[in-house]
Symmetry: C2
Subunit: 204 residues, 2 copies
Amino acid sequence: MTKTTEEIIMDAAIKVFTRGGYAAARTSDIAREAGINRALLHYYFRDKQTIFNLIFEGRFKEFFGGLFKVMQSEDSLEEKIRKIINHEIGTLILHPDLPRFIAIEVASRPELLVEYGTKLGLNPRMLIARFEELTRAEIAKGNIRDIDPKQLLINIMSLSIYPFVAQPIIRVMMQMDPVMFQQSMERRKQEVFEFVMNAIKKHA
Amino acid sequence: MTKTTEEIIMDAAIKVFTRGGYAAARTSDIAREAGINRALLHYYFRDKQTIFNLIFEGRFKEFFGGLFKVMQSEDSLEEKIRKIINHEIGTLILHPDLPRFIAIEVASRPELLVEYGTKLGLNPRMLIARFEELTRAEIAKGNIRDIDPKQLLINIMSLSIYPFVAQPIIRVMMQMDPVMFQQSMERRKQEVFEFVMNAIKKHA
DNA sequence: GTCTATAATTTGATAGAC
DNA sequence: GTCTATCAAATTATAGAC
């Protein structure tokens, strides 16, 4: 189970690229992080852009791939909401820099979203459609209050993802070290779920 | 009211730096955007870092300055929540790239937060303290359900700010052009307010 | 496969003419 | 004040020895 040099380089590249995006990444940082020489990067991978593309595809998949499965599940709305939140926060506890990385790169080149989206067979329309349908059905049945399903989905994502984007700010303002932050996010799974369910509940 | 060259350069620099952060910004991009020569940047400002520091201070102030005032107001909790949401979304409609820019730079250098925070006389502890106090009072009075005030504040911020961070993704997934997105955010002020108020309301 | 040395390219900063 | 030309430094990429 000992890692090949190629894997070592990839792991190092993930760290460096994810930290500040493509522009801020130095190939020398990747080499140092991997404990090898810069020239060896070019032996295993053609150039910086090639490494980045491989990394981006993997990170993109991490960010969107699991979500797609969860969104497609045949659960009730409540159960689906719970799973989305648990999946998002759970993933980001393991990879806290992920959303910032995706945001940086997709903002500077939005076509990446379409390119890698189709590459992974993700259909955004489909992804949203089921959730919308389910939500509208619950509204029609009178189980929840009238709310735009798209906005509801944005709200769930916002509550799950934003704290990680703002992690450095939150940590300073609320005086948390990384461990405290992680524990706080662990508890947040339940808190966000309750917040959302309350928000869509009907009131007398 | 015709702009000086210095102002033209600053405006261009704001655009370029905000787009992808310091590392991705090219001085040649700033010059082209300003319609002048690269050398002229160095005539008006010492170097890239100097321009960036000026820009960052301004943007930082835009992002945190107004919030500070709103957080200090003597309103009821409900009114304060409304004002926070309106202020955040309102500001970001005018400056949609702002939160991504702040997130990128503060993530790569968290000390910026403390440095510019104290420079502007912002005290994060104070900022949160009043909100916490007010929220606890409402809980004690039985007006809202029991909720961690810090988490509530994070939730309000998440709902207000995240859509702008994820703007490129949301735009693609929901097929909105920039104008539609802006209109959607305008409506969102009210929707987020209702969402939050419902979420903290007590249920029978 | 891995390294050292070096070349090529990109980017930022300066000198000096107008 | 603004430009062209040039330099210097940083960064990426390649050649070639071992």
